[in-house]
Subunit: 151 residues, 2 copies
């Protein structure tokens, strides 16, 4: 049986690139209806008359998609190394995500450090960027992810 991934396997400086995801109008409107029902996220016609000049995705949609693509990069292997996260710093919505965008997450391990009290847990600090098809950043954020240490 293959050895499972642990905190010890992660190296500072490693960059993970996800597959791309095509954003559709339907998924923008669906997410907004559930979580962010504002005119510029819900209705292309109303959105055309806002400062955004057309439909844009909810920032919460883009942050959630960024994380999904991060997982799709394969960083967690079979998934058992990940133990969640206490939070996120510096979430920045840098430009809107729009229908037809091809988005990709680029994630870099910026740091790693052990948990202060629990020796079964180590943190990896991830710098996330969600990029569009023009290689422009749609969002960036940073999070310290908890991972399982080797026993």
């Amino acid at each position: 049986m293959a050895e499972r991934l642990t905190w010890e396997d992660f190296e500072v400086g490693t960059v993970y690139r996800s597959p791309t995801h095509l954003v559709t109008e339907d998924e923008i409107v669906d997410f907004a209806g559930r979580f962010d029902p504002q005119p510029f996220h819900l209705d292309p016609v109303e959105a055309a008359n806002t400062i955004y000049g057309g439909l844009i995705a909810s920032g919460w949609h883009m942050a959630s998609l960024c994380f999904r693509l991060f997982i799709d990069s394969g960083i967690f292997g079979d998934g058992h190394v990940s133990l969640g996260a206490p939070g996120v710093e510096h979430l920045r919505w840098l430009r809107p995500g729009r229908p037809g965008d091809q988005l990709m997450t680029v994630a870099t391990i910026a740091d790693k450090f052990p948990h202060k009290r629990k020796n079964s847990i180590g943190f990896i600090r991830i710098h996330f960027e969600l990029l569009n098809q023009h290689n422009e950043p749609v969002l960036s954020m940073q999070s310290d992810l908890m991972t399982r240490r080797r026993r």
Copy 2:
């Protein structure tokens, strides 16, 4: 015709309380399947064997729901005062959201200030808390929201 809400109408110190929302296992699993497919968000049986001892909601689900409930508090009136936001600071997942939780957002206007260059825009700084039925915080975060100023 009623005057529309503008930045001038918001007062520092005002607290907005949302309706409550009952979190179901189905919606936890649905969100996780789309955006955060990890064992402790996807499958009650697998989740029971993790450090969380049972199914927990994705942190992205809880942040998105916090914002949805914030809108449901009525702070934006007909919705046209809101112009989006450049980002979020200090997003903290303080305890898991679980099936059966009754969640509510409490949002406080912590500050307000004009846009530095655009005199049509003002910011309101919101401190968000998502509370469960025991009045315990599930998450907290802060965001400077862009709003329309009076012409």
